[in-house]
Amino acid sequence: MDLLLHLLPHLVNGLALGLLFALVALGFMLIIGVMEVLNLAHGSLFALGAYVAVALMTPDGGLPFEFMRAYCALPIVPRYVAALVLAPLIVAAVGMILELCLRRTYGRDPLYGLLLTFGAALVIEELIRLVWGPGERQLPVPRGISGGFLLGDLIYSTYRFYASAFAIGMIGVLWLFLEKTPYGALIKAGAHDSEMVRALGVNLPRLRLLVFAFGTALAAVAGVTMAPIWGIRPHVGVDAVVPAFVVIVLGGVGSFWGAVIAGLLVGMVVGLTGAYATDWSLVSMYLLLIGVVTFRARGLLGKKSVLEV
């Protein structure tokens, strides 16, 4: 009983992580659905989201000094909200550029698409390193949602509760969008059979562009939300794309709730290893990937996926 209580904060942490992993994975999955290739740059865009948010909250330079002073004098909450809203939009723009680059590789050996997104991931990471330096950054968070609180006998992190609630909200909104709106139906149809959708008169290139933008925006949102938990380093991109992939493989490509449940599982694993061996918590993801691909590459639901080229 004592052990369980001791583990509880870590389980809660794992839950928060898991929900955010699910968010990244869902964006990832949307993109796989309408495109032919896996976006290895998804993680770098996740990182870019966090960095852009930092830049939006505490502008370092470039803008006129008066404007910056007035901006920084604003209370933190509007700045945080601005960052949360604008960062995904900016990253979505970058995502659209990437999609335009990917167009040249459609129809060819999927290896080219893979190489291109890998190159993009490296380029984005290099860009981040150049603009913001290789050091670690901090995202300032409004005091209302930071710090800890006491529940029972244990201290919980307020921010992780907020992050979990926010992620649940985003997942809910995403579900509503996909299930209840005509645009969502379009995206699902495109994922199911893009040729047919095009034959029915939908502008497929535009659909792909918008889905890519949407998926990368989700990654950026997750990046901004995850920033206070994971820290902001240029390398955080790789650490974000691997769990997304694990989640999709575990949950099955194309399954919305599969991704959510798998995300929670992965998050728990990472959170719990964090409890016992903090250094190993990130590596546990890589080990999990190796394990999952080796033993259950068809996911818990067992259907041959589009990833098996």
């Binding site: 590789t105 290896l111 893979l114 490296l122 150049l130």
Partner: protein, 335 residues
């Protein structure tokens, strides 16, 4: 029966001549002999890597790990066991083959995205182990005090401490690896690898044990890269964790593709030379040159996946066509 592809090609002789004469003119062009050694070491690494990507079609995004494993193995054997050049290099190669073989068991039956992500996962795993197992690898500081052991051939003994001497040794390694890889690629084994790259299923239908071929290709590739790692350890005087990072693994991929590894044996060599010359020439002016190299890679994949070697091959083809047209026109005119 004459060996397919021959033992030595004109391109090989050109490459050997260029690299063989390098110490004599490198300073004239404003570069340093150290650069020559770096280029040769990375050429061996990239050639080993391209066996996997260019010839078998398997994208390994974690190859830096084996480069580092080779360096660490070299250093550890030298410092703890037996400071003999040949033993240490053998240890490096064997370590690479061992780890490559182990990882290969997990990934040999995969391809495409699964393969790529698994190589990333294993690469990161080894990177993590190397940085955390400080009792063995000294962690972030790196394994220092690796000395350049003398090359003892029994009859003669050459000290490799000076950069010039090490250059000749690395050149000799480069020649041996080039000849070896050329033979491997033009052997029946190499032909099957190329078949696997073109269409894995069909190759399997033809009765080949595709898994075994892929595993062998991967293990051999890792072994060669690890040998280069041993050379790197001597060059740098240490083994460092950063070599095993995803960034460096990515740079190997970039070098191989930009140079034209998809279509040419010499692609990786061209890519390595371009990278390092760019680093020394452009790096003096701007810090962003690595970004440009990455963008060059993306442009290459988008517009010319055949790379620089591909451009060269196009040029040769165009010249031949021109010559053919000219000769035909002359024949028609005379007749």
């Amino acid at each position: 029966m004459r060996a397919l592809g021959g033992w030595v090609t004109p391109q090989m002789l050109v490459a050997f001549a260029v690299f063989g004469s390098l110490p004599f003119w490198i300073r004239e062009v404003g570069l340093h002999p150290y650069l020559g050694i770096e280029i040769l070491v990375w050429c061996v690494c990239a050639l080993g890597f391209n066996l996997l990507l260019g010839y078998t079609g398997l994208p390994s995004f974690g190859h830096g790990a084996y480069f580092g494993i080779g360096a660490y193995a070299f250093g550890l054997v030298q410092l703890n066991l037996f400071p003999n050049l040949w033993v240490c290099l053998l240890a490096a190669t064997t370590a690479g083959a061992a780890f490559g073989g182990l990882v290969g068991v997990f990934i040999a039956h995969r391809r495409g995205i699964y393969f790529a992500l698994m190589t990333i996962a294993f690469g990161q795993l080894f990177f993590f182990i190397a940085s955390k197992w400080t009792s063995v690898t000294r962690g972030e500081d790196g394994l220092l005090d690796i000395k350049r052991l003398p090359a003892d051939f029994g009859l003669a003994r050459f000290s490799l401490t000076r950069n010039d001497a090490l250059y000749w040794f690395c050149l000799a390694s480069f020649v041996v690896v080039t000849l070896l890889l050329w033979r491997v690629i033009h052997s029946p084994f190499g032909k099957v690898l190329r078949a696997v790259k073109q269409n894995e299923e069909r190759t399997a239908f033809l009765g080949y044990n595709v898994k075994l071929y892929k595993w062998t290709s991967f293990t051999l590739s890792c072994a060669i890269t690890a040998y280069a790692g041993g050379l790197l350890a001597m060059l740098q005087g240490g083994a460092f964790v950063q070599t095993m990072s995803l960034q460096w693994s990515g740079i190997v991929v970039l070098m191989a593709i930009v140079g034209g590894g998809f279509v040419s044996f010499w692609g990786p060599v061209v890519g390595v030379v371009v990278y390092f010359v760019a680093r020394d020439l452009l790096g003096a002016f701007t810090e962003t040159w690595q970004l440009w190299f990455g963008l060059l890679f993306m442009a290459s994949v988008m517009f010319k996946p055949e790379g620089i070697a591909g451009l060269f091959q196009d040029l040769v083809r165009w010249l031949r066509a021109q010559r053919g047209a000219f000769l035909r026109a002359r024949a028609v005119g005379a007749g």
